[in-house]
Symmetry: D2
Subunit: 259 residues, 4 copies
């Protein structure tokens, strides 16, 4: 079986601008995430960043990508709409997408959800406890009832998302809030997983359990077929039942229609 082709996209801005972040992720967060996936047996993992040409996501590369991870925070607005368009197109076709932490506010996640994706937040280095809602779910494989992160950024309800199709994790934070931090959706033919842990000032992507979750998620989100969406016109003479055109028309056979 062909190994899963995974691309980890990282904004890679704070890692260069902030000494704090650089000290935690000297090679960039994307590198740590990719290492975690490799550590868990995924063989074909590469990275892409904002400052590469086309943010490292040209059409041909996305074409062969099975699962894309997305971590962004301070530079969401700098991601070109053309790249967001093509990532969305690939997700709808069947590519898996794993959106991480502050990626809740990325253009691509808001685009696919249709909602604000906002939440309540606090950066206080508090403890997070992540609870498993379905112990048999492949994304929770290998985890017991819960796992803990010693320091985390609080993300709390209300989380402005469409109802998740599967709830894998719900988090609690030391300051008291709770958060639906592990959620699954289908959009088009693609699978989407949002996972909340991952603030850049804490070494969360070096955590063994978090790495296990990310690898599980990559495998869960593997493409399962491809839907190439074309909005086709089917003229009367090609209809399943014999019909003839009748009544007034705006379009001629073969028209593309208004889009």
């Amino acid at each position: 079986m062909k190994s899963l082709q995974v691309v980890v996209w990282g904004e890679n801005v704070h890692e260069r601008k902030s000494e704090v972040v650089r000290s935690v992720y000297p090679d960039g967060m994307h590198a740590a995430i990719a290492d975690g996936l490799r550590e868990n047996g995924l063989e074909d993992v590469t990275t892409a960043t904002l400052d590469e040409s086309e943010h490292g996501l040209p059409e041909e590369r996305l074409e062969s990508t099975d699962v894309l991870f997305w971590w962004g925070h301070c530079a969401h607005g700098e991601v070109a709409d053309a790249v967001v368009d093509r990532v969305q197109k690939r997700v709808l076709e069947g590519m898996g997408l794993i959106v991480l932490h502050s990626g809740h506010y990325s253009k691509i996640f808001k685009r696919l959800m249709g909602t604000t994706c906002s939440l309540t937040w606090r950066e206080a280095g508090e403890k997070e406890r992540v609870w498993v809602c379905n112990p048999g779910h492949p994304i929770a494989a290998g985890i017991d009832r819960y796992f803990e992160l010693e320091q985390s950024e609080m993300y709390g309800e209300p989380f402005a998302i469409p109802a998740p199709e599967e709830q894998v994790f719900v988090s609690w934070y030391q300051g008291g809030e709770v958060f639906r931090g592990g959620c699954c959706w289908h959009r088009g033919n693609g699978k989407i997983f949002y996972f909340s842990p991952g603030h850049e000032t804490y070494p969360i992507y070096f955590d063994k359990t978090v790495r296990r979750v990310l690898a599980n998620a990559a495998r869960w989100a593997a493409p399962r077929g491809r839907w190439v969406d074309s909005c086709p016109n089917v003229p009367a003479d090609q209809a399943a039942e014999p019909i003839i055109n009748r009544g007034p028309r705006l379009h001629q056979d073969g028209d593309e229609g208004y889009r």
Copy 2:
């Protein structure tokens, strides 16, 4: 009880440019839709069109709108993004949205769904039969097992939408296709209903049953509360449980965060 404030938005382009459409809808499609709602007991129904200032949907008007109908086709691309933004914001807060026919490709519907919203189509004046999937659903109130439209534009599967939360109607067309033509979703705190009948070259919005469905839908989509979404920061000293800030931070108390 305050009567429901309904605004019917119509593109009103084909009605002026195409003699065929003008002959069917001399006062514009929005006028026919609004008349149908009034005929079914809705008292506070007004209209808005593309060529009005801000497309007739300035902030204050949307603010007091309970349910918005949306019909557009050839001019989807001319709708200003700022207006789409504010309609989306109001839907997420709780305003009802009824998207009609070719509105499946409107910016606002694609924005809220997160998918392409494409479909298969044919303009051949064929018969459409609309089947009821839940005879107790308020949007189907007053309809028997099905109703028919003598001439309709075919919209067929695959319909590229997220799974509907409720399926109210499924249509069949004379040429053989089927279509999930009556679908409900929640997004944020708002209710959304998509209803497929309504091609501009046929007198569909004068049909008594269609008008009944539209009025039913308006009542179903009435706001049920308001969610003003703010993505608040909750500083450590206001947390539900006493915590202190610890660990490295990127933000200061009171920061807006990156959006």
Copy 3:
């Protein structure tokens, strides 16, 4: 407008057998729940209990019930299947159902969910904090970000339910667990809300906020139409399109079919 007809069903067993429970709910839990609803403006609220004939839920009474509350715990097994059948039938037709606390294991809730409805639990009198997931949801009307119960029974994830269509509340408990304690579903044409607070050894149904939630839920679950389900046979000569019977058959016209 006809006032909503609400019936509060209470098992009323522990209230009589356990001195502790009787001291908290001397008139029975059902009475306290009903009082809370009346206090919040619902006018037509009555009660029913296990030891009444047909558990107080004969067919004619259910027929005119708009919303049914269900609290049970130690005597789930004593509820007659015939009564469960008729409650299910009424929910599918359109009656609202509010399932409370230990009712997660009631026959009617398991019947409607199709899953075990199990959870993790601990009776330690610990604090519960209930967080709002959609501040605009009618069931959360009048509540701020969260409310607290000084003593509660812990109900924790995994909660073995189908994915909720709307998440209204998520709870946290002092011992650390989290729980999806406020969930909405449609089944057939009826609305179902599960609300977790309500252990019988604590005065939870005297809490002002809990009472507000229960009244909100009753109004949210009000019937919206009626689906009388008959699984009809439509003979060939009554089909929408003219067809003739052909091929071998097992049934004759007018057969009821196998059920």
Copy 4:
């Protein structure tokens, strides 16, 4: 990789009692279904029938079953509740379940859905056209826009099911009706697919496309992990956060609780 262990359960009553059915399925419908799966590359396919001991589904066999197909019709009522209980338990743990045609009224399907699962029907040997709603869905792999069955029993809306999580097929019948005939759900950790074609008086399970769909469905429904549901009590001294028991209690540590 271990090959998928598939069991095809067939009622096998009409095949023996009805000459018509026997002439179409001389070895029983279960045998034809199993042959179709083998033809499409599934290696480990066995069958079970109603009249075997425990209907051929003893606990150990279900324990090692990955995907179960279910075809029943006139003898739904003869299926022992104990067997239904154990099939449900295995589905919730993660076993895949494919429910076929008249199985919409089987005890196990009604149990898992929580609704009546009724529909409109007609046995007239009319044509059925099955439309694909997501061309990239693995269950529709290898199928074009639609496929046809020359003779089929009509199953029409309303279909009394919870909203499908994915709509794979919608059918149309010559007499005019439409039907959501290919639907996916998760319940617990298991995947469920309902597929409507398959009336016993027509050779539908010899149809090449139908056989392809069944094999696709088996692969889609393959278990993805296991959720052994225990409803555990977590005593105060084992809580994630240190707490002490306080307040009145009904249960002692280690209690099983009321079920």
